[in-house]
Each structure stands twice: as structure tokens, then as C-alpha cells.
């Protein structure tokens, strides 16, 4: 059992890191431990933000919130909901697919840039992040960014830390933008399209001035595993509209008319819409209690279905699409097929794949993050050293 450190203050965290530096004790940073399947590297002690808890400032009228990194996401979302506000990027909850327990933290959400269905129009977690406080590998307490919407005062280190998976620094506090919750939401369902037709339908929907805020395609193999099988038979291409009730109904009609040329159109009400998009967000069909390899792949929207079609010829895959087709949740039958997958990603125009789940030995043996070119790796290494010269913070992202 490796030691777990849970400093109760930013100062204590800084001291801990500084002292660890003297003995070159490496750390693996964690939040609520929901990604426990991604193991730390050998010999690293766990450094958790759990002790850094609490909402520091929340001003609904300014649409910003400042929170200590270890604060449970649940607590943040509850405080926002009281004012009918929300995180625009719909943070993903991976506990289902990872079969893990633990409480997702707001720091973990930003450190993994965990963004859900609305990401493709409203931006990722990183786009909502306005400012951070963090402890770097020298044990210094650093602040970057601020609490205003527009800020180009110096380098945007906050966004750089978003999605850095604990490789650069220990986030201690985050300030982010929030948005009003939409009054209502509906989903237009187009049934029975194949993957290529669905991709065309989603592109057509996005070209309309109806402000689609979710565009996913659920092939027949997974459709029944969403919302208890409540969607119509056959593959479901689903398009979400949100906003004021009066406006949503007008836009829904317009969108339904435009989609009628593609297939049979039906509509989900607000309640079913909420459940459906939560399950799309969390890849619920793959919360299957197995450790079959699960990839999260980001490519251009039109490339998603090309990628899956190519892979199908060579491997057992099951997939569904979010982000207009550009986010592919990909479950492999047995082997993760990392090399094959990454070769095809390149062939369809580039992107990246992250292996979220597999047997522990497979995870340990696979490059779970997308390998970068030598030139980019060299910059990453230099950037890593600029935060953490002694390499105290171990992460699979930068080694």
C-alpha cells in the first residue's frame, strides 16, 4: 500500500511537495480517486486534493465560481442548481464504465478536461476555466488567470493545466465560468440511419440556425441499452435543443422538418432528454461490469464513422458517436488494438485516442494517451520541466 497524502491546506500541500523534493519522492496526483484504474507509476506516493474542500466564492450574477480543487463535483453542481446555473461543458462521470467508486472532484474534472455532449458547441472544461491556483513541482504556490471572462494578461497557464492529468502541478483552486440552465430541452430522434447517413444528417442539422446543443448517433447495437430501451427501434440519431420553451418548440419543428428527408422523426420530452444525454455523456451502455478495452476517440466529425468502418474489418468493435460524430466511444472485444486504432486515426485525418479501461496488465502495457510526434514530445518535456524540474509529479501523460 503506497502512502496517501491529503494535505488540508494549500500551504501544507506546498510544504509537502517541497520536502518531497529533497528526497526525490515522486507523487501521483489524484482527486476523488474515480480513475483508480489508471495506475500511478511505480514507487509514487499518492497526493490527493480531497482535503482541499469548499466553495470559496460564488457570485451568480457574475456567472463565476471559485472552488478548492478537492471539492466534490456534486457539491458544486448542487450550489449551481440552486441558482439555476450549470457547468456548460457537462462534466463526464466515468464511475460507471470504470466500475470505480470514489467521489469526482472539481479539480479532477478540470485536470482531465472531462467534457460531455455540449462540448462541441459550448467548449470543453478548459474553455470554462478562468483561473487556477496550483502548487508546482518546486513547492511554490502559483496563481494564473483570474476571475473575469476575458483575460490575455500573460500566458494562459490555466488552460494548459486543464487536461494535463496531474503531470505539471497540483491544482489547489479553480475559478470557472458558469451558465444559466436552459428552461427546457427536447431531443429530435431520427431512426434507422446507418453511420454514414447519420453523419450527414448531423452535419445538416448543425448547418441550420436552430442551435443544436447535442448531436449523437447510437447505432442499433447500443440503442437499446440507452434509457431502458425507450428510444424507437433501430439506430437512433439524436439531436438536442435547449432554451426557452417557446423558442425550443419553434426550433424543434424546424429541425424535425429538415430531418424528415433522412428518416423517421420522433421527439423525446424534457425528462427523457435529460436522462438520455446523461447516459450518452457517461457512455452508460459500456458500464457493463467488464474490463473490455474502452477507448475515447476524438476525430473530425465526418471521420468518426470512417474510422469505425475501417476498424470493423479487422477487429471486434462496438461504438457510438457523440459531438456530431467526432467523439467515438469504442469498446473492443478483447485486445485494445492500440497500434491499429492509431494508424487508422491518422489515416482519417488525425485526432487522438485515450484508453480508459482495460485489464490492469493491459493498461500498464499500453500507451493510454495519444503518442505525440518527436517535436511535440520535446516541447511537452520542456514544458513539464518548467513546472516540475525534478519530475516529482508522475503521470501517464508525460511519463
Amino acid at each position: 500500500m503506497t502512502p496517501i497524502h491529503e494535505p488540508l491546506s494549500e500551504e501544507a500541500a506546498a510544504r509537502l511537495v517541497m520536502i518531497a523534493g529533497l528526497s526525490a519522492t515522486p507523487f501521483s496526483i489524484s482527486g476523488g480517486g474515480t480513475r483508480s484504474l489508471l495506475p500511478a507509476t511505480d514507487g509514487a506516493e499518492q497526493l490527493s486534493t480531497r482535503g482541499l474542500n469548499g466553495i470559496v466564492a460564488y457570485n451568480p450574477a457574475e456567472m463565476t465560481m471559485t472552488v478548492r480543487a478537492g471539492t466534490p463535483l456534486e457539491k458544486v453542481e448542487a450550489a449551481l442548481a440552486e441558482n439555476r446555473q450549470m457547468l456548460a461543458f457537462e462534466p463526464v462521470d466515468l464511475r460507471g464504465v470504470l466500475g470505480s467508486s470514489g467521489i469526482p472532484t472539481i479539480g479532477g474534472v478540470f485536470a482531465t478536461n472531462a467534457s460531455g455532449p455540449r462540448r462541441f458547441v459550448a467548449g470543453a472544461a478548459r474553455d470554462s476555466l478562468l483561473g487556477v491556483r496550483f502548487v508546482n513541482g518546486k513547492g511554490e504556490i502559483v496563481k494564473a488567470g483570474g476571475r473575469v471572462m476575458k483575460n490575455v494578461t500573460g500566458l494562459d497557464l490555466a488552460k494548459l493545466l486543464a487536461g494535463s492529468h496531474g503531470s505539471l502541478a497540483l491544482l489547489t483552486e479553480v475559478t470557472f465560468r458558469v451558465l444559466p440552465m436552459p428552461e427546457t430541452a427536447v431531443t429530435i430522434v431520427v431512426s434507422n440511419l446507418n453511420d454514414a447517413e447519420a453523419t450527414a444528417a448531423m452535419a445538416t442539422a448543425m448547418a441550420l440556425p436552430v442551435e443544436v446543443s447535442g448531436a449523437a448517433h447510437l447505432p442499433e447495437s447500443v440503442r437499446g441499452r440507452f434509457v431502458g430501451g425507450a428510444l424507437p427501434d433501430g439506430a437512433a440519431t439524436v439531436l438536442r435543443l435547449e432554451g426557452l420553451a417557446a423558442s425550443v418548440s419553434v426550433r424543434a419543428q424546424k429541425l424535425a422538418d429538415a430531418m424528415a428527408g433522412f428518416g423517421t422523426v420522433s421527439q423525446c420530452d424534457a425528462g427523457l432528454t435529460q436522462r438520455l444525454w446523461r447516459e450518452i455523456r457517461d457512455a452508460t451502455p459500456y458500464a457493463d461490469g467488464t474490463s473490455r478495452p474502452l477507448w475515447r476517440v476524438s476525430v473530425a466529425p465526418t471521420a468518426g464513422q470512417q474510422l469505425v468502418a475501417a476498424l470493423r474489418l479487422e477487429a471486434g468493435v462496438d461504438a457510438f458517436y457523440d459531438w456530431q460524430g467526432g467523439l467515438v466511444w469504442l469498446r473492443m472485444e478483447s485486445d485494445p488494438e492500440a497500434a491499429l486504432l492509431r494508424r487508422y486515426i491518422k489515416a482519417v485525418g488525425g485526432g487522438h485516442a485515450t484508453l480508459l479501461r482495460a485489464r490492469p496488465d493491459v493498461l500498464a502495457a499500453t500507451e493510454i494517451f495519444q503518442p505525440q510526434t518527436d517535436a511535440v514530445t520535446a516541447i511537452q518535456t520542456a514544458v513539464k520541466a518548467s513546472f516540475d524540474p525534478a519530475g516529482l509529479f508522475r503521470s501517464r501523460m508525460t511519463g
Binding site: N151, T153, G154, P301, G351, H352, Q370, V376
Partner: protein, 478 residues
Amino acid sequence: MDQIAFLEPRPAVLSRRREIVADLLDLLPEGCLVHEPRELVPFETDAFVSYRRLPLAVALPETTQQVAAVLKYCHRYGVPVVPRGAGTSLAGGAIPQEDAVVIGLSKMSRILEVDFANRTATVQAGVTNLAISDAVSADGYFYAPDPSSQLACTIGGNIGMNSGGAHCLKYGVTTNNLLGVKLVLIDGTIVDLGGKALDAGGLDLLAVVCGSEGQLGIVTEATVRLIARPEGARPVLFGFDTSEEAGACVADVIGAGIIPVAIEFMDKPAIEICEAFAQAGYPMDVEALLIVEVEGSEAEMDAMLASIIEIAGRHGVKVVKECQSATEAALIWKGRKSAFGATGRIADYICMDGTVPLGQLPHVLRGTAEIVAKYGLRVANVFHAGDGNMHPLILFNANDPEDAARAEAAGNEILKLCVDAGGCLTGEHGVGIEKRDLMRHQYSEVDLAQQMAVRAAFDPQWLLNPSKVFPLEGRPAA
């Protein structure tokens, strides 16, 4: 007026001027190097005209490979490099220095690909901001960030300064609309960051390149996000008796969960200047004016406007003027977007760019008025109120050095006021040289050292745009 220092030119570079010019002439096609002193004059400053330095030479490459060749050469011989788009920086971001080679991207102005199915455009860095929207508008799309200088400013410059504009309240600034870049590093290495796929597979280097003011590398191509144009858009004018009322109205609109696509603020001096220039039909008997733009279908716009009018009523709105035609709407925006140019017709000005939390708007407006009065100067306020991004234009006479020094001092005080109110020095113009020496007011030494360390990770010798952003004292030894 010359208080802001530049780095001392490197004697070893100045003394080799002729050889450097000869070598660059060899590296570049004919007509791609400017080196005659007379021809260098147009490059000696940008829109922050109080400061000027004649560069050593100006390279105007036509390809990424040529940019790489010039950078590789400058890296080898320790020659500073100043990237330049259209030279519209209000912060002095593109002002050269005597020992620097300017790399101007003006010849790289082609739109390389428009991909509607993926809603992206890939363009060379010298393409103007407006040219992107123009190229896609017939198909019902636009590129969202819209700085006032969008007719002239380039996408490369927009990336350097993470530019915003009036409509970023809803759509975000450059960093939120940028998907990928082709970046040439100081040693000439060409890397691709991002692309048509969302988010980064490794560290999000694109995030730190955007807004880095040309200090991490030179962007030669960019892939940006296109958005389907809304069905309709309607700007409405709201006139108030005081700036405080207008400011409070903005905070309440946002607080009520209404996010119009733009909320612009003008005070009386700004209204007068812009009306005289554009005849936009602004009400003249008010002290403060908000331009609120809503978009969507007619029904949506009506609903949103009704809520906003109701809130404005609570703040004693005096005039509500809805435009009756597309021509009127265009005039309203023309007046707003030409604010800087129109101001330039009546006086010299410096434009501040501090951003404050919305609730602080009335306090900072009051403080700004007091500071400017203390220095015996005039100010016109015209800015993006919805996101707290203030643009006080401090009017002065550039032919009077004392007046100019007073304007600069007043500007510095206003920016400190913004930081003290929980805001920042610059929302969308960048630090450049203008705000460089105020960085310590916003950041601690440790904060700055961390930023400088990241900067040095890309450019260890500090050759790229070296006089900018970070205070000259206390830099790490190269």
C-alpha cells in the same frame, strides 16, 4: 513620450547587419525582404503609435518553409525576431526593435480549405479576420470573434493576442474558436498542434500558444471553428441618465440568466464622437448608451428583448430604440466599431483594455472618471460591458510631451484600479510593451517566474518578440 524601455539592441547583431541582410536575401525569394531604411519606416510601429523602432530588416515570407528558414537562421545567429500580422496592435505587440528581423505574414493570406461538414476553415495566418466570415457567409456560416479592427487585423495576430470583439459574450474569444495551428518554433521546427478533432491528446499546447503574443513560435496556418449564422440578429439601443445605471442594468441582465450575443457600452463623449462619424442614430440626450444585440428567430428575439426591456425599466432607462431595418442595424454597429478611428479624428488617444468582474463596473467607471479628471484629461468610454471588458479612451495631445506623459500615467492608474477590483490588465488587446511594466501589479514574482519558465521552454534564448509581455528586469538569464 518615451518612458517604456526596449531591450538594448545586441551590438553583435547590429554590427552584422549587412551580412544578415545578405543572408536573408539568399533565403527568401525576390521581393520578400525589406531592408532599405526608407522602406522599413512603415514597419516601425503598430497602432500603439507613441513608440517606434526601425527594425533591422523585414522578411515577408510566402510559405511556412520560408518562415522556418528565417527562424532557423535567426536562432543560429542570435537575432531577435518580431512577428507581425497587420500591425493593428493597440498594445505595441508588433513594434520592432533595432536588432530584430520582423517576420510579416501579409503574403500568407490564402484561405486553404473550408469544410462545412466539419464546420472548420483552415487559413494562412495573414488572412484577415473578416475575410474568413466573408468566405463562408454565402453558405450561412461565420467566424465568431470580431475585433473592431476585423477588416484589417489578421488571424495570426488574433491568435497572438487571443482577440475578442463585441460578440464574444456568447461565442467566446479566439482561444474558444481555435482548433489547430501550424506553428514554427524558434529553431525552425514545424509542428502541428490540434486540428479538426476537438481537444488535445497530450498537453494542451495550443491553449498556451493562443495569447502568447508571438513569444512561443510563429503561427503560419490556423484551423478555426465556423458557426451557423443565426436566423436573425437585432441590436437595440438603451439610453440612461447615468453610467452607473447602465452598468447596473448590464449586471442585472446577466444575473437574470439572459445572455445576449453582445452588450456594448458607450458614455456621452463616445456617443458624440461615434454619432458625428457614423450618423448611426444614437440618442444624444443620454449620458450612457447600451447596444444590446439579441439573435435567433423573431419570436426568440421578441421574448428576450421583452425581458431585457423590463430589467432596463427598473434602472430608469430613458430611451429604448429598436432599429427598423437591416440598414439601421448595420449603422448601429458601424458607429460602435469605428469608435477608435472616430476618436482618432478629434484627438490622440490611448485605449485601455482592463477587464473587471461585472459587479465592479459602476465602481470602476466612477474611479476612471476621477483619475482622468485628476490628470486634467478627457476620457471616452466605449466597451464590451457584458464581459466587463472596459475600453476607456484617454484623449490627449501627442504634440505635447507633458500631456502624453499624463495620459500614460492616468492609463496606468486605471489599469491598477481594474486589477484591484478583481480584474486584469488586458482582456483582449494583449500586454505588448504597453502593460508590460504593470505585470507585477497583477502577478507575484513566483507567478511571473512560472510563466517565464514556460515561455523559455519554447524559446530558451528569448529571441521571439523579446521586449514584450514580461518586465525587462528579473528575467532569467538566457
